[in-house]
């Protein structure tokens, strides 16, 4: 397997959507290619960091604003 072939399957490997046979081949490539290993690890880390860090705080008062807006539309609530 070449690096180009590996990169084409990088997402499938990360998302766990490869067959066990293909996974073995991809792992074997990782074992002998330091560059692809770095790309694989840092790409996974990239996803993990974005998943676990809130980069936009919820504005204060938004929930109350939503609640009032919905109550205003609610016909059965008056």
């Amino acid at each position: 397997m070449t690096c180009t072939e590996f990169l084409a399957l990088l997402d499938d490997l990360i998302d766990g959507t490869v067959s066990p046979e293909l996974r073995t081949e991809l792992q074997a490539h990782l074992g002998r290619c330091g560059h692809c290993e770095v790309i694989y690890n840092t790409t996974r880390k990239t996803i993990e960091i974005y998943r676990s860090h809130e980069i936009y705080d919820l504005p204060a008062g938004l929930r109350e604003r939503l609640h009032s807006a919905i109550m205003a539309r609610c016909k059965k609530c008056s």
Binding site: T2, C3, T4, L7, L10, D11, I14, C33, H35, C36, V38, I39, N41, T42, T43, K45, T46, I47, I49, Y50, R51, H53, E54, I55, Y56, L58, P59, L62, R63, R65, L66, H67, A69, I70, M71, R73, C74, K76, C77
Partner: protein, 217 residues
């Protein structure tokens, strides 16, 4: 997938709202306000717009709840409304200039990794929270909009490839291709901040990328 035959807890909440119990809708708001606001912020790139969009999306979902089909998840249905509201807001703001997330972006950037330096272990710990959030915001804001939204829906908000495709009106292969490029571009850009600190003899590739560095074509 767990419980294909067990109804999702949202189904009961939706039923209660349909039956006139508005407090059940508050529960849905509390559950998803964060996600809706984040998506709106990622698309509009503007805090006020994102707030307005969040309100509009929840109101629209409330009013259209009768049309909601129980065979799709309430969350993905809500996300679709939020994406549409965000795009409408963008179009209003940039009058005359069409904003499109469905045209493919002609860019090779990031499709071939160039920065092959390894990262520091737990690189995010080298920054305080505010610095890290700023780095992450700046980095993702630099992505083409059509890549950014695919990455956000798929990797941050946890939609499946199929759900992302349906939400954005894209084909599954288009979503896959954008996701790969989005991930690689983000990785490449974050590398600047997260790489292991070493001397000047870094593994930094020239413009040609693959082929000149021991990577096999």
């Amino acid at each position: 997938m767990a419980g294909e035959f067990e109804p999702h807890p949202d189904v009961a909440l939706v039923e209660r709202v349909r039956g006139g119990d508005v407090s059940a809708y508050d529960s849905l708001v509390r559950k998803y306000e964060r996600q809706v606001f984040r998506i709106a912020q990622h698309i509009t790139q503007n805090r006020e717009d994102a707030e307005d969009v969040t309100q509009d999306a929840f109101l629209k979902a409330y009013e259209k709840l009768e049309q909601f089909q129980g065979n799709s998840k309430f969350y993905t249905w809500l996300v679709r409304i939020a994406v549409n509201e965000s795009l409408m807001r963008l179009r209003k703001r940039r009058t005359g200039k069409m904003v499109s997330i469905d045209e493919d972006v002609e860019t090779e950037e990031g499709s071939v990794p160039r920065d092959l330096a390894d990262w520091a272990p737990n690189p995010e710990q080298n920054y305080n929270q505010a610095e890290l959030a700023e780095i992450l915001r700046k980095t993702i804001q630099g992505l083409p909009p059509g890549f950014r939204i695919v990455f956000v829906l798929r990797d941050v908000e946890g939609l499946s490839t199929e759900e992302t495709a349906e939400t954005l009106g894209l084909s599954v292969p288009a979503v896959k291709s954008r996701l790969l490029r989005a991930r690689l571009q983000l990785r490449e850009r974050l590398s600047r901040y997260f790489r292991r600190k070493k001397g000047p003899s870094e593994t930094r590739l020239g413009k040609t990328g693959l082929g000149e560095t021991g990577m096999e074509k």
